[in-house]
């Protein structure tokens, strides 16, 4: 198998071309994000590429593993949205509790 470092180098070059054609206006930000992403998946990518080269996994299995990263990003963003709604709800509950406290206080005060 070709050295993994060479493969990574080629991926980085391809990503740079891709950024130049698809997100020209934000190329530097996009490249910084891409660099971060590639470095976070590098270990897995290296292991999976070795498994693919040795025939221990199929191309379809390799593709699933890579796609699972995209799915993880999607699930994480939905997780954040879900947690944000829960936090807003908890805040709303506190507001309602406070409102009830104030109303009771005022009503009982009058008696």
């Amino acid at each position: 198998m070709e050295k993994f470092e060479n493969i990574m180098k080629e991926i980085r070059q391809a990503v740079e071309v891709l950024a130049g054609t698809t997100v020209r206006k934000y190329k530097s930000e996009a490249l910084a994000d891409a660099k971060k992403l590639l470095s976070s998946i590098q270990d897995d990518l290296k292991r999976w590429t070795k498994l693919l080269a040795s025939g221990d996994i199929t191309t379809a299995e390799y593709e699933w593993l890579i796609a699972s990263y995209k799915e993880e990003a999607k699930m994480k963003s939905l997780e954040k949205a879900g947690l944000a709604i829960s936090r807003i709800r908890q805040f709303a509950n506190s507001v309602l509790d406070t409102a009830v406290d104030v109303v009771f206080q005022k009503v009982l005060e009058k008696k």
């Binding site: 999976w48 939905l78 949205a81 829960s86």
Partner: protein, 142 residues
């Protein structure tokens, strides 16, 4: 005047209680939802561990798991718009490339899965389902 003021107080109080109830319905901690994630994870990992064997021997169990996920989507959708992130996560589990059910489609296409793939995909599957569990566990306990 006293009458109007009392009526206004009762109305405000009723409105507050009703608003609280509306928000609560969608976002309360639900033991059934947590159990659903755990059951799906347990079944999925158990089936995945059988992946080196022919798919045909497990087709009925995979179909049952897909049906279970479909039922969960209906159950979670019934909680309203505020539960949309959870519904969308389950929909991704059911239909997206690189997510859970897609592994079983791969198993069906290939006939078997490789041992190395099973080992590599197991933590990925657990990770994907953990996102749903995290949201469910952070819902407010009454």
């Amino acid at each position: 005047m006293k009458h109007i003021s009392a009526l206004l107080r009762v109305s405000v109080f009723t409105l507050i209680i009703l608003c609280g109830a509306c928000i609560s319905a969608a976002l309360n901690y639900d033991e059934q939802s947590v159990r659903n994630v755990e059951l799906v994870r347990q079944d999925a990992l158990r089936l995945l561990n059988q992946g080196t064997k022919p798919y045909s021997g497990f087709e009925a169990e995979v179909t049952a798991l897909k049906k279970k996920i479909d039922e969960i989507i209906i159950y979670e959708s019934g909680k309203g718009k505020a539960n949309a992130p959870v519904v969308n996560m389950w929909k991704a589990v059911r239909s997206s490339t690189g997510n859970l059910v897609n592994i079983f489609e791969l198993w069906e296409r290939q006939g078997t899965l490789s041992q190395a793939f099973i080992e590599e995909s197991r933590p990925r599957v657990a990770n994907l389902l953990n996102s749903i569990l995290t949201v469910e566990e952070h819902k407010t306990k009454r």
